[in-house]
Amino acid sequence: MMHPVRKQRLMIVAVIVVGASLATALVTTALKDNLNLFYEPDRIAAGEAPVGRKIRVGGMVVPGSIVRNPETLAVTFVLTDYSADVAVQYQGILPDLFAEDAGAVATGVLNAEGVFMAEQVLAKHDEKYMPPEVAKALEGKSASDYKNSYSNDNDSDPASEY
């Protein structure tokens, strides 16, 4: 007969071990299925991104590339990192801060024709903010372009007009 305290401790350890291993197994599989890797447009153009698997792509929205169908709410636009472009197709309502020449990140699947079929489109949170991944994607490519857009923001700042 085991000492009751020891027996109790053994039980606790058993619960922890079983729980932890079960959790690890579940977490690993769930994580593996739901990780969305981020790709810059130039890596997609280079064919590095998998086709048919859920990924994310981000960059600046090319001015004049947004085409909407007012009947069906289908929209296409082009994301760029200033060295390569990706065409994006989306069905639905775009976020408030989605705009030409502003950063956006799309989650979806790349099809065989190289068009990105987006399920979700996110834009930056406010005028001053650049999604870090987009900022990184643009790094060293044409950084001056997006820095310019920063200083433009500052110019339009009512405070600095005086």
Partner: protein, 682 residues
Amino acid sequence: MISVIPEIGHLALLLCLPIATALAVLPMAGAAASWHLLQRSGPLLSSGLWLFLAVAFACLTYSFLHDDFSVVLVAQHSNTALPSYYKFSAVWGNHEGSLLLWVFILASWTLAVAYLGKSLPPDMHARVLAVLGGIAVGFLLFIIFTSNPFERNLISPPLEGNDLNPLLQDIGLILHPPLLYIGYVGFAVAFAFAIAALIGGKLDAAWARWTRPWTTVAWLFLTVGIALGSWWAYYELGWGGWWFWDPVENASFMPWLAGTALIHSLAATEKRGVFRSWTVLLAILAFSLSLLGTFLVRSGILVSVHAFASDPTRGMFILLFLAVTVGGSLLLYALRAPTIKPLATFKLLSRESWLLINNSLLAVSLAVVLIGTLFPLVMSALDLGSYSVGPPYFNKLFLPLMVLLMLFMGVAPYLNWKHNRLTPVLVRPWYMVSIVALGIAMLAVALLSQRYVTQWRFGAFITVALSSWLLLMTLTHAGLKARRFASAKNSSAWQGLASLSRSYWGMVVAHSGIAVMALGIGLTSSYSVQKELAMSPGAVADVAGYRFVLEKLEDVKGPNYSATIASFGVGRLSDGTLVKGLPIRLQPEKRFYYAAKNVMTEAGIHGRLTRDLYVSLGDSLEDERWAVRIYVKPFIRCIWLGALMMAAGGLLVVIDKRYMPRLPVRTDAPSDTVASKEQAVV
């Protein structure tokens, strides 16, 4: 004219640092050296700290309310056109101000412990206050050296401010951060009790009884704070979602999970003297996760409306503070925990075991959220790619864990402490309850599937069955307990119900809250109907048995924005015809904020307990034509109702008679002898 108010505020803030340092050192030293004068210095120093922080906070508020744009913070986050209640909330709608609020709330908790905790043994009281003082020192250093809210620009103060982020211009956001912080920071008290007990070597039932009400208060505020955040996201973001598994949401949810485990483990420690070292560990964990949440949110490494700052030194400071706090407390724990022996034993079939299972499930859920939240950050820090973890990861793992948790939650109250014989447990009422719950689920799902013209939803069936089972199990337990009491005392059933303790009712209400929330989650995810379409005035859309008619579009001007308001008339359909015309009016808006040049969506919502009608405007397509998003969301309100019930349950526990501060008048009353007797028993 230049105001000196910000300078007064800054000075008050600077003076807090020596006071907090004294608070961190003197009572602790006094307790160690048994020097009573020092040991009793805690309350005085806590009052001083609170007073000076209150002055600092009031000065900052004054600057915001009076549009003092020579204060950089005010210029960046406020605007003369901003309504004054938003100027008030703008005080904490930014990095510096929110930290000042954090430390002010910490000082308020400290003050409360100083004066409400007088019944604590003097050395314990002194140590608790000192630990809280130490935390205040850390945060004050952070504010003063990296995030000074009173920084000024006296040379060329702007004439107009940048305005508050429009997303934050909302009543929910006036209340959400303070409530959340009261919860977050409240775990500092549980942490301080744990550390003080580890230092003093006194981890007894009395320690658990002192910690319990404080922890419960913190937990209930956190519950309301999270619920409010979720409600805000629902109506303000215009996506109709109520939880996104966004890292910032997770940052507040993780301390909540740890706190929930903690209040249950404390119950076992108080009643039976078991799980003492686990309870201490949870107290450390809950507060560490609060700090981690602060780090995640305030360091700017997350993409979020919450992330105000992106200054790496700030992130490094919080990380360092986190490392010192967590590392130090875990070291202390490792040194002291082996000396903690369980004071009692229990069998597998006992309430202790089931509380342990509940705790393990909560701990595993916590690990799931933690991994999903930190994984992308770790990968990106190691430069292994930029990942995001999709919501399906969380849903897939979280739902089965919650199902298990609810099953154990329904049964646990029926088990006695220590051990149970199997037979009486097996003849308890759950066969009956299970059959009734299955019947309710069949009926409900049949009705709902007919109402929303869908197939039979298995998920909805499981949720309804499980929720009604949990609800019935919990209420039946209360009924049986009351009946047993009534028959023992020969009184009526009502007197029996009234005689149950408040903390017992707290459990009943909180567990019922879980059932209500689960019901809301399950039914909303099964039966919500969504439609996105283009509409111009006069257009008609039929969604889930409702007709939505876009009647007109108007342009209006608000205090600091211009807006387009769409007016929708909505009515119930029966066989394709309107039953009573269009009695419901929905007015979603699209706003353009001048100062920040931001576009914002304000949804139009008509809420009933059984369903929400929700319309939000997308973009303007061509002249009078707008993209419109229409949702019908059944039972979504149950989610927040359930959360409020949980918080109400927490409140009932806190106002239980045994936690009430003993009034000075009753010093001769036997309450003290009861306490000492219980200690003797333990």
